[in-house]
């Protein structure tokens, strides 16, 4: 986006999420009434979306529909599905951005389909070989001048097998994202490993450590262990997509288990109930920290345009927050910042467009 006063145009993929299009339509309707700086095109089956919208309170000036009769189901194989479905909603969203009809994509559908659709239509930033899905997680320590209680984890599911160069690229992209979105001028970047020492971990982590240590423009603090993630030792924690996805789901699950245990204990003994009531404000604070719906979706970093992946189980609040993040990224020069940073790294292979 070149003109900061212009509203950010979001292409919102309404299909393929676990909770159905109603949550996404509700989020779009809600934003149309509250955010003059965001215009949303709801992409999906118009026969389904239209009646959902008609039953909502919305402002049609900031909301439109792009009909697409096909979508990728979460349980289907994304590559084959996208080959077969030229009019799939996620593909239409990415095409809209590629053709300049929208500034960012938000989807709660299949991650694989989003990556493939973005690869096909938007292309990667020159110098980026693999893309990364970044997610925020709550931490004990605060981050940056705004004292954000969140750290950025990447990759959390985009690229399962990575090279040392990919990890370095992730570090560069994560650092740029934290600078822009969290307004943190010097985010501390770390690699996730099984020990703080530079020689610990798989070969690609050890190699990436050596590369990052000598890299300018990145505040690399070395390796961190799993326990450091929630403690908040680093602002940006870099790992491969397999480990990242396991870590992220574990943190989410932990929050849900704590909440379930508390409600279970509440009903069992009077003394426990009393104790929990006394701790209720603290519990609420923990719950709000672990509430992933308020985090605003995970950006897929490395593409030339913003693509935000909301959780498959997202409700309207989570989708609305994802759209707000997408608007913020769209207004920044994220792609250019990543490109500049990646170009400093001489061993990086060339990206494709």
């Amino acid at each position: 986006m070149d003109e900061p006063d212009k509203p950010a145009r979001i292409a919102l993929d309404c299909m393929g999420s676990d909770r159905g299009p109603q949550e996404l339509v509700a989020a779009a309707a809600h934003l149309s009434l509250r955010r003059e700086d965001i215009v949303i095109t709801v992409v999906g089956d118009g026969q389904v979306i239209g009646p959902l919208l008609d039953a909502s309170t919305y402002d049609p000036r900031r909301l439109s529909i792009r009909h697409s009769a096909q979508w990728v189901h979460p349980e289907e194989r994304s590559r084959e599905e996208l080959e077969r479905k030229e009019d799939a909603s996620i593909l239409v969203c990415c095409q809209m951005v590629a053709e300049g009809q929208a500034d960012a994509v938000v989807t709660a559908g299949s991650t694989g389909a989003a990556i493939l659709a973005a690869e096909r239509t938007l292309g990667r930033v020159p110098g980026v070989r693999r893309t990364a899905l970044a997610a925020v997680t709550p931490t004990e320590l605060r981050h940056g001048p705004k004292q954000d209680p969140f750290a950025l984890l990447l990759d959390v599911g985009s690229t399962v097998t990575v090279s040392a160069e990919d990890l370095v690229t992730f570090a560069v992209m994560g650092s740029a994202y934290a600078r822009i979105i969290s307004d943190n001028p010097r985010p501390r970047v770390a690699l996730l490993s099984n020990g703080a020492e530079s020689h610990k971990g798989p070969a690609e982590v050890v190699e990436a450590h050596a590369l990052l240590q000598n890299m300018e423009g990145i505040e690399f603090i070395g390796n961190v262990e799993g326990l450091d993630i929630l403690r908040g030792t680093a602002d940006v924690v870099v790992m491969d997509g397999f480990v990242g996805n396991v870590v992220l789901k574990m943190i989410e699950g932990f929050g849900e288990v704590v909440s379930d245990l508390a409600s279970d204990a509440h009903g069992r003994k009077f003394l426990w109930r009393l104790g929990l009531n006394m701790l209720s404000s603290g519990m609420k604070e923990i719950q709000s920290l672990l509430d992933w719906e308020s985090y605003g979706g995970a950006p897929l970093l490395g593409f030339t345009q913003p693509v935000i992946k909301a959780h498959g189980r997202s409700g309207s609040r989570a989708v609305a927050n994802a759209c707000k993040v997408a608007a913020k990224v769209a207004r920044s020069d994220m792609a250019a910042t990543v490109e500049r940073a990646v170009c400093q790294f001489p061993r990086q292979g060339q990206g494709t467009r």
Binding site: D54, S56, Y58, P60, R61, I65, Q101, P149
Partner: protein, 360 residues
């Protein structure tokens, strides 16, 4: 020639508060101030004055449409409201205001708020007084029960609804015996002119309170909920009430009060088309008319953006609403409508709070 004896091309009936005038208030002090506002302080709903002006004049610039205003505002405001309409350059033939002071003096507290027993008899009497039987277009809002009153009025003019039904309904809402007598008298007068040809062509309901359009589905395809008068102007162009220059003047007036770019206008176009109230050929006709008139690049930009949005709809752009269906029980419809309004109002007040995510 008396107004009633003239042959009118069409009749337009308007509500005033929240339909023509923006009388929304956020603070109690703003509500208290409304009756004391001067004509120049009154604010229009964007585009309302321009639309009414354009509708009431013919191609030759002469008024040939009957304009009636039935408002629930108290009679004491007549002077200031008439002055406001004059300032807007609007001409009218009837202007009814509610005798609120008399209602209060006689202890008729229910009548102060009740609208059916007030508006329906007046509208029927007005129709019965006209020598010709023009088709009608009605304008109301979603704040109270305009949709219901107008739909009932329309069905009374077709004969689909009779006096027995309306009598029961008026008793239910606590209308006075005089109101019932007036309705019966008007219906008797209108009996020879009852027509199945839908004397009421369209009912526009301006969504001032932000009601969802689906709330009005039970009233059928004759009723069109609109988010603003740009959408109403598009429908009225498609139905031959306005020419392209009128549409542009209304759009300009709308834009003056409501900051909108080509994309927002295109979205409004798509919205009214998607809901089945504007066919794809309306888009083509508008494009042809604009081409004929040789209008500027900004207009073309809006048109292109609108065409793009129509293409976005794919097959949905060609779907049209079904013909007006019959209402079997008006009393039930009123109860259900009020209940739905209440539910929506409650849901809105319990709306999920804004989240303050780290990146939002």
């Amino acid at each position: 020639m008396p107004v009633q004896s003239k042959v009118w091309r069409h009749a337009y009936r308007w509500d005033l508060d929240k339909t023509y005038l923006d009388t929304r208030f956020e603070k109690f002090s703003e509500l208290v101030r409304i009756p004391f506002q001067g004509a120049e302080d009154k604010v229009n709903i964007p585009g309302s004055a321009a639309l009414l002006r354009e509708l009431s004049r013919s191609a030759e610039g002469q008024p040939d449409a009957f304009v009636s205003i039935v408002s629930g505002s108290p009679k004491q405001l007549r002077e200031v409201l008439e002055e406001k309409l004059s300032l807007d350059g609007v001409s009218w033939h009837e202007f009814h205001l509610k005798p609120q002071l008399r209602n209060l003096r006689k202890g008729r507290l229910r009548a102060v708020k009740e609208q059916i027993g007030y508006k329906l008899p007046l509208m029927l009497a007005s129709r019965a007084s006209l020598a010709c039987c023009p088709r009608e277009t009605l304008f109301g809002d979603d704040a109270e029960v305009d949709a219901f009153i107008y739909s009932l009025y329309a069905d009374l003019l077709t004969g689909r609804c009779g006096f027995d039904q309306v009598d029961e309904l008026l008793s239910h809402v606590g209308a006075s015996a005089a109101a019932k007598r007036d309705v019966e008298r008007s219906l008797l007068k209108l009996e020879p002119s009852l027509s199945e040809q839908e004397p009421v062509e369209t009912i526009f309901i301006y969504l001032d309170s932000g009601s969802p359009p689906a709330l009005f589905e039970p009233f059928g395809s004759r009723l069109i909920p609109v988010f603003n008068y740009y959408q109403a102007a598009l429908v009225l162009f498609a139905r031959g009430h306005l020419d392209v220059r009128s549409v542009l003047r209304i759009t300009a007036a709308f834009l003056e009060a409501d900051r909108c770019g080509p994309w927002e206008l295109a979205n409004l176009f798509q919205d009214i088309a998607r809901r089945g109230h504007l066919a794809y050929d309306a888009m083509e006709n508008l494009a042809l008319a604009i081409q004929d008139e040789g209008l500027g690049s900004e207009t073309e930009q809006v048109l292109w953006a609108s065409a793009r949005r129509m293409l976005d709809l794919g097959d949905l752009a060609t779907s049209q609403l079904e013909a007006q269906q019959e209402v079997s029980d008006y009393l039930q419809l009123l109860t259900q409508f009020k209940e739905a309004q209440r539910t929506i109002h409650q849901a809105r007040s319990e709306r999920v709070p804004e989240s303050s995510g780290p990146q939002a």
